[in-house]
Amino acid sequence: MNEILWITGGRIIDPANKRDETGDLYSVDGVLVEQLDDTQKKAATKIDANGLVVAPGLVDIHVHFRDPGQTHKEDIASGSRSAAAGGFTTVVCMPNTSPVCDNAGTIQRIMDKVARESIINIYPTGCLTIGMDGEQLAPTGQLKKAGVVAVTDDGKCVQSNEIMRRAVEYAKMLDLPIMDHCQDASLTQGAVMNEGEWSLRLGLRGWPKAAEDIIVARNVILAELTGAHIHMQHVSSANSVDILRRAIARGISVSGEASPHHIEFTDADLKDYNTVYKMNPPLRTDADKEALIEGLCDGTLACIATDHAPHSPDEKDREFDTAPFGIIGLENSLASSLGTLYHSGRLSLSEVIALMTHKGAELCKLDAGTLSAGADADICLFDPDEEWTVDPKQFFSKSRNCPWEGQTLKGKVKSTFVAGTQVYDGTSISA
């Protein structure tokens, strides 16, 4: 292979290298290089990026691709295409598949399928506990050998403080990042939405923020006790942000992520019992939303992650109580995040890109999210100002459970490259 790529005239934004300038970007054989020589220039495929942002391929450390087990919702192939269309070149898959990823065999099966069917970089995670039952540690060492980049029981939360303590101690020994879905299950029995004025109005069982805050606080205490780093997934409450902020200030090794939906929607959006707003953790109040944005602005929350959670239309098309939790988000994540953070004037373009690239990559120790010379030529070209209307029917995901349906968003992915090969051209998957 001798493929040479020459992206000209774009606004190159590479937050990891503090670069934001108009210029050219080059790659040879899938790897970024500083310069091309004259022969290479003649042989290069030229891409005109005038008026576009040239960013590192986006990184999402929290997606559900439902493979194995529920491939009618999504699978590695469709998930990877959905990601590519959203500008993502690297994603981290959650282990709550069927069977769950609590053994090396399942990880191997996923890795094989990724090698065959994925058009982007997909990394698996392993469970913290066997069967995600929260009772017995999963074989973390074997999982690591099989290729997981982090451990989590996402979708569930280890309720026993003793098991959690041992799980993080053990994972730390193996230098594996620990992520946690923070939910005290005793406080959320039968709960389907945020507890507050709207749950009272709608007569839906309320899910108090305390269910999250208590576990975030527990994890802060365990991180301090063990010295391990614990990453809080999809933080949704103001209190959790505050607990994290104070912990980080005290030098405790914890971090958190926010999802595009928690910084855009609130529990008031559930007023018509539309199940597309049913998610875990639930949408909170305006004050929580504001605290999450503030957390992203001041660095308390390290990154944006979609929690892309596909469900088939007939599963969502039912009474609110019985519909599954979760929404998809990969194909609109950039545009909706730009809307709430950049077009609103809260953050610079470079800061938003940082939250969607190298910061998440660093948490999971992934070699991704930068445009450094020598790195894989994973690149996202987008127009930050182009408007488009979200139509989930056009999505590459197999699922349609997207609350942005019908919204006009600003920010359009024009091209996605993985290791120097174009996989998405702004309308179709080209890999």
Binding site: Q189, G196, E197, L200, R201, L202, G203, L204, R205, D272, Y273, D314, D317, R318, E319, F320, D321, T322
Partner: protein, 318 residues
């Protein structure tokens, strides 16, 4: 009441979205039906040849019977589908069940469902009128309407009247619908009971929240009791039935705190000796049986109005 009849709704899902005019329209029709009933003119022709489906997916005897009687007083044929017998227990979705009812040429569906919002969903799935017979903890509009109708018979107007709703507010669709209905009609509403079942956040709905029984009863023109079902909701919201009764149960002694002439209401069925003393439940102050009778005429009014609105018929009253 002689204002024009304002009604354009195909469905009755909740009271929250009804205007005061709409509520009064229901009462105008209910009054006409009640007058006819008292004149022994029990059966009205307005739904003759029509089929009303009672889709009761959560057990209920009282409400189901009241709707069945109301529909038959309007000369409709009724089909009752209850939870256990329906194919929903075999995995059929609510959408499929409802579309089937429609294909069977049902003219209206009355639904009781354990999930809040299920009638909102159903009304989007089918073209025919959907009447909410109670959904989860969300709404029980006909119960609230009959409660206010009963109060209006007593007081003439609810403007400035103080009504206390006592008991399990958190899980009560009756309370939620009454809060909207009473306030729309000008009443001041206090909700009372243990703090675990009467959360402070309800104040956002404009009501006064109170955890002291005497304070809750003292100024009330009427007190609405709610059924306490300790086991149904959750065992963690209060210590025991005995504890509830000793703290919030209404007995003859405590009833003396009420204003002279204040009335006692209960949507039934009553747990005698739990939320209220047996003797008090049967006393002059109690309007429990009027509530049941009014439940028929209010539901006749609702069925009639929604049917007319959906089918573009002008509203006639006896």
């Amino acid at each position: 009441m002689s204002q024009s009849l304002a009604w354009n709704r195909k469905d009755l899902i909740d009271v929250e979205h009804l205007s005061r005019d709409e509520i009064e329209t229901i009462f105008t029709a209910a009054t006409a039906f009640k007058r006819a009933m008292e004149a022994d003119d029990k059966k009205q022709p307005y739904l003759e040849g029509r089929t009303v489906v009672n889709l009761f997916l959560e057990p209920s005897t009282r409400t189901r019977l009241a709707f069945e009687v109301a529909a038959s007083r309007l000369s409709a044929d009724t089909i009752t589908v209850t939870g256990g017998a329906s194919s929903l227990t075999k995995g059929e979705t609510l959408r499929d069940t409802a579309r089937n009812m429609e294909a069977l040429k049902a003219d209206m569906i009355i639904m009781r469902h354990s999930a809040s919002g299920a009638p909102n969903y159903l009304s989007k799935v089918v073209d025919i009128p959907v009447i909410n017979g109670g959904d989860g903890s969300h709404a029980h509009p006909t119960q609230a309407l009959l409660d206010s109708f009963t109060l209006l018979e007593k007081f003439g107007s609810l403007e400035g009247k103080r009504i206390t709703i006592l008991g399990d507010i958190l899980f009560s669709r009756v309370a939620r619908s009454n809060i909207w209905c009473l306030q729309k009609l000008g009443a001041e509403v206090t909700i009372a009971g243990p703090s675990t079942l009467v959360p402070k956040e309800f104040e956002a709905l404009g009501v006064h929240v109170c955890h002291d029984l005497q304070e809750a009863l003292e100024d009330a023109d009427a007190v609405m009791l709610l059924r306490i079902q300790h086991e149904r909701q959750t065992a963690t919201h209060f210590p025991s039935i005995g504890e509830y009764t000793s703290t919030f149960g209404l007995n003859k002694q405590r009833a003396k705190w009420l204003k002279l002439g204040a009335i006692i209401m209960h949507p039934g069925p009553i747990n005698r000796g739990v939320e209220i003393d047996s003797e008090l439940a049967d006393s002059e102050q109690s309007v429990v049986l009027q509530q049941v009778t009014n439940g028929i005429v209010v539901r006749m009014a609702v069925l009639h109005l929604c049917y007319c609105a959906h089918n573009g018929k002008s509203i006639e009253l006896p």
